[in-house]
Structure formats: C-alpha cells, structure tokens
C-alpha cells in the first residue's frame, strides 16, 4: 500500500545508485514506475571498464571515476565497488536520499501491488520514531495502529527519524556461510511492519535498501571499512555494516531514530555464496572484535553535530581498535577524511 506523502516534494529526494554492473537497462526499466518522478544520481564503480547503459526518460546525473578523482583528489577514501554510492551521497543536494543496490527489483506486497519504496521510505523518514520505549503494535503512526496501553504519554511525540532500513524478499542479506549452508533459503515472508530500533541497540545496517535524511545524518554514512579481500558481491563486503554501526551510535547520541522493516525490494542471484566464503571470513572475524567496542561507546555530551560525532567515533576507533587490526586504523583515517570532504563538498544543500 503506497502512502504518498503530500508534505514532501519530489524535488527534495535523490535516488542514488552505485552501478557495479554496466548494463542498467533492465534495472532502470523495472524501477521506472517508481523512479521516473525523481532526480537520480548514478555513480559508476571506478573499476568498471565498460560504458554504462542507461535507458531514456530519466532525470539522471552520472558520475564516473573522472568526476570522483577531480572532486576528491588524493584521499585515503576509496570509492571502488559498493563504496561508489557514497560519492553520490556527497554530491547530492537534496534532503532525502534513497539508495538501493543495482541487483534489486521492485517487490510486490501482499495485495500484489508494486511496492513503492520511495513513498514508504519517505513516510518512514517523515513520521516520528520511538526509540525509548518499545511499542508492541510496531509503528504507532501507521494507519490502523497506535500506541498501546502502558506506553508513557510523554514519549508519544517521538523523535525525528534519520534512517530507514528496508528489507529484501527472495535473496535476503545473509552472509556467505549462511547462504552457502542453506542454498535453498529464500526469504518469502512479507512482514507488514515498520518499527523503530531502540536506542542503544546495535544492529547490522544493510546498505542494500536504505534511505536517510541527509541534513540530519549525511556525514554518518561513509565508506571506511574496506576488507582486504573486498569484492563485488555483498557477501564480500562489510563497509555498510561498519558504517551502519557508527551511524546508529551517532543517531542514538543525537536523539534521532532508526527504523527497520518496510519497504521490501526483490533481490536476485548474482554470484555464488560458496565462492565468497573464503573472503567472508575476514568480515566475520572483524565483527567479533567490534561488538564490545560499540556496546560501550559513548560520545561526549558536547558533540552535537553529526560530522563531529563521526570524528569522535573515528578517534575512539583508532585508539581502541587500531591495535586489534590495521583495517580499523585505516577505517578511522578514512572517516576523518570523509568528514573533511563532507565539510568541503557535501555540506551544502540546494
């Protein structure tokens, strides 16, 4: 069921796509009913040699390696692979960004209608989040729902939602070991809910289907953690998970909400989980190191801007995780570089 949000104009939204695949024809045509109203930013993976193929009829700006090199110059940040999308976040001038992987197509909801992910993400971002107390009927602002008995009245105003994490039907975002062990495991369960992930609760924020309020938390989504064996399949990356954990800490600190649930996208096979197994283990091991760190991470009360939060997290990462694995030291450096870049290039809006 699409909820068109009358208060948000189309020109406040950017759709950002990182193109890891050169032929975007079927992808764009599949999404045409949903995307054609909006401005699109497509960032081509600098590693991609072939020309991008994009069908007609879209309002789109394409950025390639040349643009990245020109704008970014020398930096510790690498925009290869899935990280290319962050360049799109940097150059966007809109308030809301919706970003999905280029192997996703529109899903159908329980009534068989096409899921308008933009409408749902924008609804999520423009209705309050409720991170301080769990509502057992999930999102209380949805039509047909409300706060339940026992929910404190003083918390019913909620807080601004900065991040909206959607889900995936068919090929869910499982790691390589899980998918390799259960090759037939496909997600066919459409869970008709949006909920706020409570404050101080950690979560794996998948970059496959997200949206965020750039004005609130733009600087907090960044390409920083690069696995030594990072590849061109989601099973071979951790960059979004790392960025997401930092973003959650920043949101919790600044009093913003993070929602998870609807909308769904339909995700298809690309690659083989078994082949990715070797590369995945690095990411899996690294996650074990970071959990205790993030569980106890608290930012200074005087840090009130998202970009300053990122710098502070980077400092803590360098201090506490730098000696655990050099990949964290590099991530911390990239985070600081990112904020510098953001301040120079990304901080303005139209």
């Amino acid at each position: 069921m699409s909820h068109s949000n009358i208060n948000v104009k189309d020109d406040e939204i950017d759709i950002v796509i990182g193109a890891l695949c050169s032929d975007l024809t079927s992808f764009m045509n599949d999404w045409r009913p949903v995307f054609s109203r909006f401005h699109l930013i497509i960032v081509k993976d600098p590693d991609l040699k072939e020309e991008l193929q994009i069908p007609e009829g879209f309002n789109v700006d394409v950025y390639t390696k040349t643009d990245i090199d020109r704008l970014v110059g020398s930096s510790s940040i690498l925009f290869y692979g899935y990280s290319c999308r962050y360049f799109g976040f940097l150059v966007s001038r809109k308030k809301y960004i919706v970003s999905i992987d280029d192997d996703c197509t529109p899903a159908k909801d329980k009534d068989g209608s096409l899921v308008d992910i933009v409408a749902q993400h924008v609804t999520n971002l423009t209705t309050p989040a409720t991170p301080f107390f769990f509502n057992t009927l999930y999102d209380p602002y949805r039509k047909g729902a409300d706060f339940v008995r026992g929910y404190p009245f003083s918390l019913r105003n909620g807080v601004q939602c900065a991040l909206s994490c959607g889900l995936w039907l068919n090929l869910a975002d499982y790691d390589a070991p899980t998918q390799a062990l259960k090759p037939e495991l496909k997600n066919s369960r459409y869970v008709d809910a949006v909920l706020t992930v409570p404050a101080r609760t950690l979560m794996p924020l998948s970059g496959i289907n997200i949206a965020f309020d750039r004005e609130l938390v733009g600087p907090a989504l960044f390409p920083a953690l690069r696995l030594a064996g990072e590849g061109k399949l989601r099973w071979e990356t951790m960059e979004d998970i790392w960025s997401g954990m930092c973003a959650k800490v920043v949101c919790d600190h600044l009093g913003f909400g993070v929602k998870s649930g609807l909308p769904y996208v339909w995700r298809t096979e690309r690659g083989n989980a078994v082949d990715s197994l070797r590369k995945e283990w690095e990411g899996v091991k690294l996650m074990e190191e970071v959990v205790p760190f993030f569980q106890t991470l608290r930012l200074k009360r005087t840090t009130v801007k998202a970009e300053d939060c990122v710098v502070e997290v980077a400092k803590e990462v360098k201090e506490h995780l730098g000696k655990v694995d050099p990949v964290f030291g590099r991530a911390a450096e990239a985070m600081v570089d990112w904020v510098r870049l953001w301040r120079a290039v990304g901080s303005s809006s139209s």
Binding site: N135, G144, L167, T178, V191, T201
Partner: protein, 359 residues
C-alpha cells in the same frame, strides 16, 4: 541447522499449565477446546466466591476462588488483588509446571491470512523453546523461525542466543489501547497481521499485556507478580504493565530473553473506556515517574536469582517511588509478601541460578 522438514512442536502437555482469571463464565473455552483440551487448567475465580463458575466438560482443571486464596495463603493473601484480573498471578504461584500460558476469557481463536485457525499455544511454545537474541537486533526478526536466519553482519558469537523467558502475543480486532486512545478512536480495530516474532532488545522496556502471554516459570516465575489492583486500590489496568517492567529489568540482568509478536488471538470485547479511564487515571501520571525508575534501575551482581532480584527491586521501589504516592510503599511490601508466598508454595524448585548478563 539445515533441515528439509520442520520439526513438530512438542505438546508439553505435562509441562504447561493454562491460567485463566474469570469473573463471568468460561464459555470461550469451547472455541479453544481443540487446542487446550490436552492441558491442565488453573482457573482463578475473581469476585464473589459463592458464585459457581461452570467449567465446560472434558477439561482437566483446578479452580480457586477468593476463599481458597485466603485459605492457602493466610495473611499473605493480601498481596493478591481482588476484583481485578491481576488475581491471575495466584495461578502462577500454585502451578507445579515449568511453563504457563495465560489468556483472558474474552480472547478467541484468530485466523491467519490464509484463513486457518491459529494455534496460539503452539506458537508460544515454539517461542519459548527457541532462543532469544537481546544483545543485537536481527533485521529479519526471529532468526530461529523456519525460513529465516541471522543477517550479514550479525556477530557469530551472539548466534547462540539466550534462553527465552517470556513470549508476548498480540491481538487482532480490539487492540490493547488505553482509555484516552479508546475514547478518541472507539472504532479502530487491529486488522494488520504482522508475521513476525522478535526479541525485545536488552535495555528496552515495553508494555506487557497479560491477555495472551506465556512464560517459563522456572526462569522468571517469581517476577510475574501482577501487583495490587482493583478493590481498595487507587489504580487498575496496570497489573500486567507493572509485572512486565519488573520482568524486563530482571531478564536483562539475568541474561534472559523476552519475545513479542506472534501468536495473535482474537480479542472480542472492548471494555468500557469511561470505566477504564477511572482505573487508569492515576497510572497515566504515575507512569511518568515509574518509567524513568525502571529505565535506570540496576541490580547488583549478587542478585543471581529471580527472587533476589525481585526483593532488591522492591527495596528500590520503596526508596524511590514512595514519594510519588504512598501506594508504592504498600506495593513494595506486597512484592516482598509475594516472594515469601511464592517460596513457601514452591520450596524445592528454589530458583535457577543464572549467570548475570553483561552490564
């Protein structure tokens, strides 16, 4: 853990009691018969003890009215509410089983989106027999459900989960709204079937509704005290809420999990919102003090059993909430009385010693 056919859920018919508070009648049991008949029922009859409540034929049950409660507990019966469904917790105390399922007498069998009757009890058992994951949120909800798993980025060291102490079910049709919401939205009905079970993260409180609830009595039983409500008390409709806040703080401390979501039951009766408003009125204001209290409550490491945690909580209630209203002083005392009564009726069971969860 891959398997091609789902394991059948054990009935647990000798390990689970169904506790039902009632003041009217038990007609609703007829609809539940296919699902409830194998189990032992504990009926707690509220109100006038001279009234006879007929239990439909074929059910194995024990029934307690106020006279029974007074006889069994003696002076300690003061902790059990009268003229309020909070009295149901007496049933938890006298049960000798590991698991409890409690349901209200105006709750019926619901249908899932495919039109099939929902076996709520079976789902609760599934929830209780599989681990919870309070330390890290899984975006695909319960990873132990068939057709789901942990998502990418979920730490492997946390994939064993923790034991599940509570399974909190939901309601289709009449939602569990408070009186002000009922007054503003008298016709709202919950028609959204959310096909999920999820663990409520550690450190997060929630409003626990007692209409459709199951729990592991061995793991958390003594914390399921439903407080002082009803006759002679300044407040009502906060019994399950109070238990839920205590339970969550203790579960978080002991490293136990609380799940919410499926199963759904069909809630048929909307209680009178004006009557409800009178009962809830004080609670609406007191809640604003109670919630910060529970949010900041911490239990010392030495509290390694549910009883110890609960007694400690009662001390903190007396210390910090008495200034809100003298009621809390009484409630704190009643919490202690409840534990004394529980321990007397459940001597050898003692309390499962569990390692504290991480601070």
């Amino acid at each position: 853990m891959a398997s091609s056919s789902p394991a059948t859920t054990p009935l647990l018919k000798d390990e689970l009691d169904i506790v039902i508070p009632t003041i009217r009648n038990l007609d609703f049991l007829e609809m539940w018969r296919p699902f409830f008949q194998p189990y032992h029922l504990i009926i707690v009859q509220d109100g006038d003890p001279s009234k006879t409540i007929k239990v439909p034929d074929g059910f194995d049950y024990e029934l307690y009215n106020r006279n029974d409660i007074n006889r069994i507990l003696g002076p300690r019966s003061s902790c059990i509410s009268f003229k309020d469904s909070a009295c149901r917790c007496f049933g938890y105390m006298v049960s000798k089983k590991k698991y409890i399922f409690t349901i209200d007498d105006d709750c019926f069998v619901a249908k899932n989106p495919s039109g099939e009757d929902i076996n709520a009890l079976e789902q609760h058992i599934k929830n209780l027999l599989s681990p919870s994951t309070p330390l890290f949120f899984n975006t695909l909800y319960d990873p132990y459900r068939e057709g789901a798993d942990f998502v990418r980025g979920y730490p492997f060291s946390l994939r064993e989960g923790v034991p599940t102490a509570v399974s909190h079910g939901l309601w289709l049709n009449i939602p569990d709204y408070d009186a002000p919401t009922q007054l503003v939205k008298p016709r709202e009905r919950n028609s959204r079937y959310v096909d999920a079970v999820l663990t409520i993260p550690k450190g997060t409180l929630f409003p626990m509704c007692g209409m459709n609830l199951a729990f592991d009595r061995d793991l958390i039983g003594p914390a399921m005290y439903f407080g002082l409500m009803g006759d002679g008390q300044p407040i009502g409709r906060y019994d399950d809420m109070w238990a839920g806040w205590c339970v969550k703080v203790i579960c978080d401390h002991l490293g136990l999990g609380v799940k919410t979501g499926l199963p759904y039951i069909w809630h048929s009766k909307a209680s009178n919102p004006f009557v409800n408003l009178k009962k809830e009125y004080k609670g609406i204001f007191w809640q604003e003090e109670i919630i910060p209290f529970f949010q900041s409550a911490s239990l010392p490491r030495e509290c390694t059993t549910v009883q110890k945690c609960y007694i400690e909580l009662s001390k903190q209630v007396k210390q910090k909430l008495s200034k809100v209203d003298p009621y809390f002083d009484k409630l704190a005392d009643a919490m202690v009385t409840w534990i004394e009564a529980w321990d007397e009726l459940n001597p050898s069971a003692g309390s499962a010693k569990l390692a504290n969860g991480t601070a």
